[in-house]
């Protein structure tokens, strides 16, 4: 039973009138493996289809927003340039946990990407607001 898929796997997406919103919760540090990049790829793919998306950086995921990183020292690619693509893909609902930032000694005013800091109560309200949630 072979199904026929369009090359980009998007056959039904064009026909959706009232798209469901999706919140992607990214919890991995950029140097901890492909997790952070793969979370970002979900956001970029969804942005390419004009879907209503948000991205929340939580726990070690906030390290993705640390400015002036030098991943080349670890023979790794720089995720920052890919993160900058989010607004270009129409993904501008970007949030960051202020508690996660504080726990790691990071300052919300000095991030590589403009993400709105939210406290714990606001995080609950945020998750409630989206139709679907992916955590990875």
């Amino acid at each position: 039973m072979k199904r026929h898929r369009s090359p980009i796997g998007s056959s039904a997406l064009g026909a959706i009138e009232m798209a469901k919103s999706l919140l992607i919760i990214s919890r991995q540090a950029p140097w901890s493996g492909p997790g952070a990049r793969e979370a970002l790829d979900i956001a970029l793919a969804g942005g390419a289809f004009d879907l209503p998306l948000g991205v929340l950086f939580l726990d070690d995921g906030v390290f993705q927003l640390q400015a002036a990183q030098q991943p080349g020292q670890l023979q790794q690619k720089n995720l920052a340039a890919n993160l900058q693509a989010l607004p270009m893909f129409g993904v501008d609902e970007l949030f960051v946990s202020s508690v996660s930032l504080a726990e790691r000694g990071m300052d919300a005013g000095n991030l590589s990407l403009a993400a709105q800091p939210l406290d714990e109560a606001e995080l609950s309200a945020l998750v409630d607001r989206y139709d679907q949630v992916i955590t990875l």
Binding site: M1, R3, R5, S6, I8, G9, S10, S11, A12, L13, I16, A19, K20, L22, R27, Q28, P34, G35, E38, D41, I42, A45, G46, F49, L51, Q132, V133, I134, T135, L136
Partner: protein, 130 residues
């Protein structure tokens, strides 16, 4: 209810087996599974090359049997799979690799399939995220 189920963990992780049990319970309860989508290390849960010790649950085989039995739409993310060496015949040929370890009924496709499933489903349920 229509469920989309995303699996992010390999077959040896408890969450892959939990996802399978959830999927079985969903169908048994009269619900519909619009798509299974295996991403990140979840692509290993679809591998046909895993050899499980005899006294342990053969989760990849159970997944295959479940998907085949119910004719489910079961997608493995192609980018995540290539990165982790989970290849079907076509990709093994394309990249000149000796091993083919993604048997039917799994299909390789892109992240658009995850978004489409999330749009069609009433609930997207994820297993094995960090």
């Amino acid at each position: 209810m229509k469920f989309a189920i995303a699996v992010f963990s390999p077959a040896h992780a408890p969450s892959s087996r939990r996802a399978l049990l959830f999927a079985q319970a969903a169908l048994a309860g009269g619900h519909e599974i619009v798509r299974l989508f295996f991403y990140q290390d979840g692509v290993h849960s679809a591998s046909g090359n895993i050899v499980t010790p005899q006294d342990e649950q053969d989760v990849p085989a159970q997944w295959r049997e479940f998907v085949t039995q119910h004719g489910l739409d079961a997608v493995v993310c192609i980018a995540a799979a290539l990165r982790r060496g989970v290849l079907d015949e076509q990709e093994a040929q394309r990249y000149q690799r000796t091993a083919v370890n993604l048997p039917a009924p799994w299909e390789l496709s892109g992240l658009g399939q995850l978004h489409e499933a999330a749009q069609v489903a009433d609930r997207l349920v994820c297993f094995g995220g960090n």
